[in-house]
Symmetry: C2
Subunit: 138 residues, 2 copies
DNA sequence: AGATTTTTTGTAATCAAAACGCAAATTTAG
DNA sequence: CTAAATTTGCGTTTTGATTACAAAAAATCT
């Protein structure tokens, strides 16, 4: 994936707007996953809540960002590193949430081991959230 | 764990009330995980929303039920089968959500494989949600 | 049983998160 | 530059969740 906002927008066939550029830059600058409200506060110019919802949904649909489940029933988002296309996310890495600093990270290099399912269950997508203490808080 | 509501309440040192008995029975009767609103609609007598929140929290704290993350940023609950005590949940099984019927199941017999973490990350709790098609919808 | 203490519940109010419809503004294409 | 299509902002509404407080119910103790 490109590493600048405009390039990404072009690559994914999205119109270039202030909101999208700014939100993408937020993701590019942070190493942690961002919730809707994280995104909202990361933007100095006050973009509308609803616009942010829609932008996140657009990015999600296009395969630019992926969802990360939060333990308290919330959702965070982070950039997809590669091999995600429109409507086809391919993630096999582990997510880690630190219970100390409450940050969530993608452990891109650490893949989800094979998970055996009972007969008849068809796997489509897997989400693994490990909670614990991150190196910084340790 | 006992398989009748009153027994469970006694076992966990909880007072026997209508709400608790009814909510426990909802869980005992269903094989799927229930959200707050699932519980609410499963009760014929109209118990108050707030009471249901509190009851779920109580059960959670006592180790009677456990949290299951939902992909859309929600939380569902299901009975703990065993080895959970007050404040000490021990779950190592996989959760499965069917994207067809939207039901979530505990796959009690299917354990989470060991997940390798980078140096310095300290694991405390793991949550695995597999999404796909369940046998009934296949 | 009856009275007391403690816990639990219901109500109302509050607050935040998320969704929808529509009109205005912006981007792209011609 | 103009027109068409998309995106955005705003008002409104719905839903989810939490709090404070008074009423009700459960357990305890004569």
């Amino acid at each position: 994936m490109e590493s600048n906002a405009l390039g990404i927008l072009r690559q994914y066939d999205l119109r270039h707007t202030d909101t999208r550029e700014n939100i993408l830059n937020s993701f590019l600058q942070k190493t942690t996953a961002l919730s809707h409200s994280d995104v909202e506060t990361s933007l100095s110019d006050g973009f509308d809540r609803v616009t942010i919802y829609r932008t996140l949904k657009t990015f999600l649909d296009k395969g630019i960002i992926h969802k990360i489940l939060d333990d308290n029933g919330g959702v965070k988002y982070a950039l997809c590193k590669d091999q995600c296309a429109s409507g086809h996310h391919h993630h096999d890495h582990v997510h880690f949430k630190c219970s100390e600093c409450n940050e969530t990270f993608c452990l891109e290099k650490f893949l989800i081991p094979e998970i055996i399912l009972p007969e008849g269950y068809q796997r489509k997508d897997i989400n693994v959230l490990v909670q614990g203490i991150c190196p910084k808080c340790n």
